[in-house]
């Protein structure tokens, strides 16, 4: 045992682990984060940092809308603006035959009572994004969406978690978990850690941690690739995606273009490494240059893939463990968890401190995935 008593151990020092630890510490809990490499090593450091409510699964919309309010006041939460800029996110229809899909999405949103998405025509699209190829016909837009700076966000969450009293242990991977009376004992190379409650926020490795706790939750792996170009003069402000194409596209504060869109590289979970597949990535470059022909001669400075866990329905797992009392899960964000970071931290604090939450997490139980497995 290391030093003082711990109320909650958080496994995983990504943004979700930091956010949960921060909220728990502010709720008076003594929290230690165990991170096997360093804070933000994988998905949280490799993210495009899109802050997006647009086109989210209906199950995620209530918490995504609350998270969006939190992003608009993020400085009050973590003492820094995190580089968040709300210039909107757009899902573009390149051709007329792409419009019906956008229209029916909008109709479903209106029907459910949501007003955060709207449809814009070509003129409004060109006003918002003058650099876009004029062949595009319209777009679905969420005007309060935007993007943040991932590294500033990591630093802000880390600093505020530490300021709230959270202990962060980097280079400490969990080898085994076992019950110790009514507590949990986590074995690591740096010794044993004991606490009554454990949060599994281990990202791509969350399935392994869940199994150590006795929950067999089938998960997939993602290694979404990103491209960053050299810096250029201001080209666009909103974040762009395209209906029917693998592309997300934005310009960072530094002037670099950041191009992603969920194209998959390779992940080696054992070696904790990921690899870029350029043949696959060329599709993203193709889409980007089709939409912005002026960028063809821009040099790619670097590319990478970040490793993340996915679920079958691409919805996260946010719940108390079905089998392990005092254990809680927070993972499986399937490549779109960045925006949810502030609200999921609050949800985890609710679950741990109050034993439940008023927030809408019905769709995120682990059992939905475990049952599918049993049925298969």
């Amino acid at each position: 045992m290391n030093g003082e008593a711990i109320d909650t151990l958080v496994v995983g020092g990504g943004l979700h682990g930091l956010s949960a630890a921060l909220q728990l510490a502010r709720g008076g809990r003594r929290v230690t984060i165990l991170e096997k490499s360093w804070v933000g090593r994988h998905a949280s450091g490799a993210t495009a940092a899109g802050v997006r409510t647009l086109n989210r699964d209906p199950a995620e919309i209530p918490i995504a809308l609350e998270a969006m309010e939190m992003w608009h006041g993020i400085e009050a939460i973590v003492g820094d603006g995190c580089g968040f800029q709300a210039h909107g996110q757009l899902n573009i229809a390149e051709h007329a035959h792409h419009l019906p899909k956008l229209e029916s999405r909008l109709a479903r949103m209106r029907e459910a009572g949501y007003a955060h998405e709207e449809l814009i025509d070509r003129a409004e699209l060109l006003r918002l994004v003058p650099a876009i190829s004029p062949h595009c016909v319209g777009a679905l837009i969420a005007r309060r969406d935007g993007a943040a700076d991932p590294h500033r966000t990591l630093q802000a969450f880390r600093r505020s978690a530490e300021a709230a009293g959270v202990t962060i242990r980097e280079g400490v991977g969990v080898d085994a978990i076992e019950p110790a009376g009514s507590d949990w004992r986590l074995r690591t190379e740096a010794g044993e850690f004991i606490a009554p409650t454990v949060i599994n926020a281990a990202g791509a490795w969350a399935g392994k941690i869940a199994a150590m706790l006795g929950d067999d939750i089938p998960l997939g792996l993602k290694a979404s690739m990103m491209i960053v170009t050299e810096r250029i003069a201001p080209l666009l402000k909103p974040v762009i995606s395209v209906a029917g194409r693998p592309l997300s596209f934005k310009q960072s504060d530094q002037g670099t273009l950041v191009i992603g869109g969920g194209l998959q590289g390779r992940a080696d979970i054992e070696a904790q490494k990921s690899f870029v597949d350029f043949q696959e990535l060329s599709k993203g470059a193709r889409a980007a240059t089709d939409l912005f022909p002026s960028i063809r001669s821009l040099r790619i400075v670097r590319s990478w893939a970040g490793i993340e866990a996915t679920t079958k329905d691409h919805l996260p797992v946010i719940c108390a463990s079905p089998n392990a009392k005092g254990a809680f899960h927070c993972f499986g964000f399937s490549g779109h968890g960045f925006q949810l970071v502030p609200v999921v931290g609050a949800i985890m604090a609710d679950l741990v401190i109050q034993g439940g939450t008023q927030r809408s997490i019905e769709g995120f139980g682990a059992t939905r995935l475990m049952w599918q497995c049993a049925a298969a």
Binding site: W38, I227, L281, I300
Partner: protein, 468 residues
Amino acid sequence: MSRHVDLLIVGAGPAGMSAAIVAKRHGLRVLVVDEQPSPGGQIWRNIENLAGTPRAGLLGKAYGEGAAVVGRFRASGADYEPGTQLWHVEAGAGARAFLRRDGAASSVRAGCVLLATGAQERPAPFPGWTLPGVMTVGAAQIVLKSSGQIPSGPVWIAGCGPLPLLYAMQLLQAGGMVAGFLDTTPPGRSREVIAALPAALLGAPGDLLKGLSWIARLRRHVPYIRHVAAIEATGEGGLENIRYVTADGRDATVEARLLLVHEGLVPTIHPTLALGCRHVWNTDQDSFAPALDGWGETSEQNVFVAGDGAGIGGARAACLRGELAALRIAAKAGRLSEAEAEALALPVRSRLARALSPRRFLDRYYRPRPAVFIPPDQTIACRCEEVRVAAIREQIGASRPGPNQVKAFTRAGMGPCQGRQCGYTVAHVLAAAEGRSVPDVGLYRVRPPLKPVTLGELAALDTMDALS
């Protein structure tokens, strides 16, 4: 769609050309790609155009030796594509290399890959090193070899190692002016390295005598300041003054318009880092090099390294390492038995040992002064993103960050050179502050592409795939 060869050689310098000659002799399908417009590498740059001319004469005997190797390479029958960059390579069963040439990207599959990508000048940041008017000796020598141009005004040269001496001699012979030579070799080196001298003298007496005669001639013709411990370049919008301080405390400022610096070479390891090859720390050369077996094969099967990329050894050693790699690759492809390859390798190995014999002496004698590794706080470490040494130091706290975290939080290493300039500086600054060794701290994780490929070129790869 992509082509297939038995052996892809990256780099047409001494190692790459020698490997191609041997591999073709044993019947392999060989493709050699090289960034330059003609074969020869850095050392024999432009030799085909210059052989037999007065300029070749002033570049020296070692330069002229390249003509014969280039001639044999041209006659070898190896496919050769100049003006071509390798921007990504994947290992595994059958490597795949991504190339760009004339604005178009393509890929090649190869049974084996030989990386003969040579060396780069050791980044040697000091206050003012990014000012216009400060450049490296290597860059100036490239201009001399490829276009015959020399600086019009007097030149200050600062550095340590054979290259600054050689360039100074070449410049004088070409009619240039050397304003002064700042020798940054620390004092007391002769005493420290005396033990390594006999091996060097036995192996390559001519080279050492040549070096001594250069120093003697330079000292007769130009101001030659020894034991320079610190340099600072200053000026408004360009170099105006150089301030230097010697080890015994002499502090002087001189006017200057052009300063050429050089603090030795380090192996080019970006491609092997990107491939995930194991690397080892070479203490004498203060640099990483890929871990290689006796043939030059890396920890990744079918990926070989020869030439200065395997550790700085010079042109003669590079040729021999290229030959050894080619013999092993021919044996792997079934063109030679293991015993035949061993027998052919035997004389090559003994010549290689002789070619490398002065290395230990040279490396130790010319080991850079400490400030080359840990420059003063106000020095720019990452010139792409203009990150100073002080900003790197500020990151060091209780969590003892590694290079990748420093990169994320300061943007050092995020520019178009992809950390080739600041990688070692960041490692040294972190190691010293955290009480660790440089090999323990390590370098940035390499994120592809190795060379900046354009969005249009990458997009064209998608189109090509669609066509096939």
